[in-house]
Each structure stands twice: as C-alpha cells, then as structure tokens.
Amino acid sequence: MDRRDFIKYSSLISAAGILPEWAFAAGRPQRQDKILVLVELKGGNDGFNTLVPHHDPLYEIYRKNIALLPRQTIPLRNSGGRALAPSLKAIAPLWNNRQMAWIEGVGYPDTVLSHFRSIDIWDTASNANEVLDNGWLSRLLPKYKKGLHGIAINPGQVDLGPLDGSSLNSVTMQNPLTFLRQARYIEDVELSRQTAALAHITNKQHQLYDVSKQINERIGKRGAARNVMRHVRGEVGHSLESVAEMIINGVDSPVYKVTQSGFDTHANQLGAHNNALFQLSEGLASFAEAMKRFKMWDNVLIVTYSEFGRRAKVNKSAGTDHGTASAHMVLGGKVRGGRIYGKHPDLSKLDENGNVRHTTDFRSIYATIGKKWLGQSTPWNKFGTIPFI
C-alpha cells in the first residue's frame, strides 16, 4: 500500500476515534516567510527592572536598594520616561530603528505564583483555574502548515512548552548537529493502519524521519552556512545561533523557541538579573544582525515571555518574590516599534500579596501572533489584538 492509498484509509481510523494529521502530503519543505522566535525568560522576569518606569515615582520608593536610577539606564525616546536596564545596551539601537516594541502589564487574572503551574498556563493559554493539555501553538499551526511546526532549542532538557501536543510536528534539540547524531537511528517506516496506536506511531516516526532528513539536507551537508552569528555568548546566544543557522539554510519551521534562565531573582538580584539580561541582549543583538545580513530580518518576529513578573517592592534579601504582570519585548523588521503597548500597571493599587494588577492579557499577544503574523483565526479573539505588527 502506498501513501496515497493510505490517505484513503485514514477515514477508517478516524472512525475508530483517532484523528491523524497526515503530514506526508507536505511536499518539499519551503523556506518560511513568517518565522516566530519565542524567547522564554525562565524563572519569572522582573519587568520593572527590565523596562524601567522612571515616570512612576513609586518605582524608586518600592525598589529602594535595587532601583535602577536614571543615570544608569538607557532612555527610550518618546516612551513617556521609560528606560532600558543598562545590560540591554546591545539591543537598545533597535528602539530608535523602530524595530523594538514593549508591551506593559502582561499577565492574567488570578495569577498562580508557582513556576510550574504558571508556565503551564502560559504554554497552554489556559485560564488560571483550568488545565489544558496542549501547547497554544497546537491551536494555530496544524491548519497553518503541513510538515514541521516548530523546534525548541533546549540545552539539557526536553521541554516543548508551547509547541507540545500530539497534533504538532515539533522537536527539541540542543543544536542541529547533535539532533542529527541522535536521529541517525530513526528509519522511515511504512504507515500502518492496523490499529490507531500503530497508525499514530508510524505517522510520528515518519514525521521525525522527515525532519531529520530535511535538517540533514539543509545543514548536515557541506556548503551549508555555519557559524552565522558574529558574537556568540551565553546560553541563549548559542541557542539563537542554532536558530539562525536553520533559518538561513531554509529549514521550514515556522516557530523556534529558545530559553534564557536565571530570572528567579529572590536574593541580591542586581548582579544576577543584570547577567541574565546581558546574555539575552547580546544574543538577540547578534541574532538580529545575522538576520539583517542574510535579508531575513523582515521575516522574523521575536517575542519574549515568562511565567510571571515579580513583586512591586524589593524584599528583605535585596531581591524580588514571585509576582504578576511583567513587560515583554517584541523585535523584528516588521514590528511597529519605538512604541509602548499595553499599560503600565498601577503601582499604588497592590493586592494582598503586594502584587500589581495586570493590564494586558497574555493571550492578546497570542491572538496578535495568530491573526496578524500567521493570518489565522484564533481562539483568543475576546482578548483583542495589539497593533505591534
């Protein structure tokens, strides 16, 4: 039985209760012209010490010994008095080029202050009191494109996050060459329709084979563009270089996910936070430069996210505890940048934990990505979209 016959039979399997998403009609991988790069800031990033609200007098009062002062920070033109943390220097020029935008007050109602639970909420786009099984991209990508859906670059772990879900064709890897080494044992298999279980397994194995074949063809061979970034430093820098390599060599993934850790800053946060932001900024600046050099910058949208923000006030250990809303960054050639979206949370109205109230639901970012970037209908219409692209 060949693949074409097999598709005819797939309706039988659907009747048995499993809906397979057959990927083999995908055809030859096409270079993507809309690429989303998600940057997870692991640990809960302190938005107030990232995009610093100098215009709000309560900021310095609350943050005391960890407040960043106007003479230290990088002012943002036409931002109503906001400034960037000094460690974000490398990416600061993108603001003036109108390729950087910020969204303030991003969060969700009844924020859960556990890392695990809250990142699940972000990853699945659920409500605080609801558990959803699949990553939010599983509600956009299967109808957006066939074949490969996303690649998460994860040194040392296998967390697909928003790319998780059996309807998605996504993989995690440390970097493309390590992935190819691991995938060399994966053989292509005939699709079996004997049971829904075998249909699912053979379908997934075939998809994986396809991904490894594609990456091998585009990156594994001689002549592929390698070491495409000029400066590679730190965790996220190395991950972003892998992403850049795959984009430049034409791997057809519409989404990449990278992670920078070190944001759970409970104690002596200035040094630690500075370091994490510095790595982030260096990595992103170098990545943006590579994208411009290879004429891909207009095709890339970079969005940061984090499980939550941090408390408005400094704690006793010169750090900040788990909070609610935070500011997030959007970068890319097509971004309507040089602007602040969302709304700075009211620092005078804190809840019983000392947390601000969010002003922008994180799902409005997802809705914007779905609608404006990927041109899809999304399940998050009620949260509205944000005109950052």
Binding site: I18, S166, T195, A197, L198, K316
Partner: protein, 427 residues
C-alpha cells in the same frame, strides 16, 4: 474451559504486567482464562523495598515559616523526590506482583499529587502505600481516604481551604477528574463543595485533621440537594452519581483495551457492574479482563506502551543491563516520572506518549539497552530462551513487525531488531 496457550497468555501478561516475561507467559499459558485472572486479582503483596528516611512535615514546616531558610524546602524536596522515585522504580523493576503495581500506578495517575508542588516526599510515600493497599479494593473507600490524605490536601490546597477564604482547587478536581467529569456539574457545585470541605487540613504531626472552627456550617446546595454538608456528605452524593463509575470504566478502557475513544455501551456495562458491586475494583477488573473487547483480535497492538512499560518492561523481559545511572531520568524525560505528574490531570497516556520528540528518546533507549557486544555465546544470548526466530517474534511483538527482520540471524540480533521495530512500542 480450555487453557490460554502462548499467544493469548502473552496478550494477558503484556496488558496486565510490566513487560512480557518468558516464564510468566509460559506458566500463564497452561491456565484457563478464569484461573489466570483469579491469580492476577490475588496479587496482594504489600512488601516494598526499605523505605528511605524522608524529612518530616514538622521539620519542613518550620523551614517554610523561616524567611531566610525557606529556600531549603525546595532543595530538600528535590533531593528527596529523586530518592522517592528511585525507591518505587526499584520495586517496579523487581516486583513479583507487577499487576498490583500496574493498578497502584493506575490510582497514582487517577489521583496525582506531585512532589514538585507538595514538596513533601514523606506524604507521597505514604500515599503510595495507600494506593497499593486499595489497588484492587473498594473505590469508595479509596476516594474517602484520598480526600483526607495529607499529600492530596497539600497538592490541591485543601489544607488552606477555610470558611474565611475557601479554596476551590480540590472541590473542582474531585468533580472534574476524580468522579463526574466535565459537563456534569456547574460552577456553583464547585463553590458549594469547597465550602463543605472547609476545615480539612494537616496537623503539626502531618496527620489529617478536621478543624471544626474552620468549617463553614452554612446550608449548601450541591447537585440539586440542600443541607449543611460536610466533605463526607459530598463524597456520598458523588458515589451515588452514575458518572462516577463511568469515569473509572472509561479509564479502564484506555488502560486495557484501546487508545481510541471507548465504546459507550461497553462503558455503561462496566460502570453498572462497578456500581452493583459497590465499587469493588477487583470485580470491575475481572469484567474488563474477561470481556470480549479485551480479547478482540482487532484490539491487539491497540495500546501504546507507557514509558514504564517500555523501559522497565524491557528490563524485566530481556537480559539487558540496567543503565549505570538508572532509568528514572529517562522516565522523567519520556513524560512518566513517578510522583512528578505534569499536572493534576496526570499523564494523558495513549497517543500522548508518542510525539516526534519522544520517539527519538524511546528509540535511543531501546538502542542503548539492546546495544553492546554481540556474541552468539555471550551473556545476553545465553539468557534468551532457546527457541526459533519465529517464536521470539511471537513473544516480543503483539502484531507482525513493520520493518523487515531476518529471523534466521543469531538470537541476540533478532531480539535487538524486534525491540527496535515500531510494533514493540504497542501492546
């Protein structure tokens, strides 16, 4: 009634055990179905490996309340969580009563209480003993005990559920996941149930306590009934609801029959048997394992092996060596770390076990276990049953292989090719 024979015994062992041990299959093949199922249901062995020492609730609670030392709670829980995993995995690797462990895992997954949230390994270890003790016992009793179980009270925030500030977490999940399922209650029922459970908590000794001063004595309306309900009343009402048995019957289908949606008539039939037996799990399991659905040829190879079935099952079935660093980390990255459920929904199982990502890890694991030196007279070859290649295939695969396997090669290579075939991933 005739004896099962090799093929049918293999099916029963593979579905109810952890792996397909040659000796067990051959012993089972000489039994009738009735005898074989009776033997499974007799598995009552409560012996487990020596229980490691875990930090007491009292100690952890003191640390938690100390601002400068509360970070230690997480660190201790992380280390003890690993010890706890190793403890159960060791038992899963060696137990002579794998079906009892399968049922313990079944309840462990029906009532998840991850150590990542509770940070209290000692509670989870006790909860694990409870699941094993009640594995084939009465579900009503188990549900009552779980509702008062310290690990569960921590996991779903029951211990912070008071009349001044009710926490709906446990009330929501007992309705959504443990009994009725979505669509069979309203939000107001969650609110009412949360009030009824107020006051249930954990005392300083780490034991269940019913703190009556924290109990909300108001009149509640729950699923159409009115009264000054306590948590026990709520559970009584839930046990009278037909959905409670159906939810367990649906899970039995996913555990023992097929990954695709259950046949509603079968679910109704099993649920009735379960309720008529007053929630006797052994009665329900007997009905499942003797059903025509269980033995239907179309349902062979219709389940996807869980990471535990695949990894630990292979190590129990074949003479491969346990990797030097153990198997716990592999189970974690394959998504079935014991005591570390991803969420209150537990492991979704079924098709969810296999993604493009997990195939890579599952295949690498089989490569690693079956790799090593190939020698026709080596350690591995000598410990494999001395039978033909065809017989090895019938033993290790529930269906025909999907790749081409040369059954005339030496046994060690044939077995390696068989465990790397996609058909080995199903049972």
């Amino acid at each position: 009634m005739s004896v099962l024979g090799f093929t049918e015994a293999r099916h029963l062992v593979s579905r109810t055990g952890i792996g397909e041990e040659w000796d067990v299959i051959n012993r089972t093949s000489k039994l009738t179905l009735d005898q074989a199922v009776t033997q499974l249901l007799k598995q009552k062995n409560q012996r487990v490996p020596a229980i490691p020492r875990f930090s007491s609730w009292k100690k952890m609670d003191l640390l938690r309340k100390n601002h400068s030392r509360k970070m230690m709670v997480r660190r201790i829980a992380k280390v003890e969580g690993k010890t706890l995993q190793t403890w159960w995995v060791k038992h899963l690797l060696t137990t002579k009563t794998p079906f009892l462990e399968r049922m313990t895992l079944f309840w462990h997954n029906h009532f998840p209480s991850s150590v990542l949230k509770t940070n209290q390994a000692s509670f989870l270890q006790k909860q694990n003993l409870l699941f094993r003790q009640r594995a084939l016992g009465n579900y009503g009793v188990l549900l009552r005990e779980v509702a008062k179980d310290p690990a569960m009270l921590l996991y779903l925030d029951g211990h912070t559920n008071t009349k001044e500030s009710p926490n709906e977490n446990f009330a929501r999940e007992i309705l959504e996941l443990f009994t009725l399922g979505r669509g069979h209650y309203k939000h107001a029922d969650i609110v009412a149930a949360a009030k009824a459970f107020t006051g249930w908590g954990v005392n300083s000794q780490g034991k269940f306590v019913n703190n009556i001063t924290q109990h909300d004595n108001s009149i509640k309306t729950f699923l159409g009934q009115r009264g000054n309900f306590s948590g026990d009343h709520i559970i009584n009402i839930l046990l009278k609801h037909p959905r409670t048995a159906e939810v367990i019957a649906e899970k039995m289908w996913a555990e023992f029959i097929n990954i695709s949606r259950p046949n509603p008539r079968t679910v109704k039939r099993w649920a009735k048997i379960f309720r008529d037996s007053n929630y006797n799990t052994a009665t329900l399991v007997r009905a499942v394992l003797t059903s025509k659905e269980f033995w239907d040829k179309r349902n062979r190879g219709a389940l996807i092996k869980s990471p535990i079935q695949l990894a630990i099952g292979t190590l129990r079935t074949l003479p491969y060596k346990l990797p030097r660093h153990g198997i716990e980390h592999r189970l974690n990255i394959l998504g079935q770390g014991v005591f570390k459920h991803p969420s209150v929904k537990g492991w979704a199982g079924g098709a969810d076990w296999v993604s493009t990502q997990s195939i890579l890890i599952r295949t690498a694991l089989m490569q690693d276990l079956s790799g090593g030196r190939f020698s026709p007279n080596g350690r591995v070859a000598n410990r494999l049953p001395n039978v033909s290649g065809e017989h090895l295939q019938q033993w290790l695969l529930p269906t025909k292989p999907l790749t081409h396997i040369d059954l005339t090669r030496d046994k060690q290579r044939v077995v390696r090719d068989l465990v790397l075939d996609p058909a080995y991933q199903v049972c």
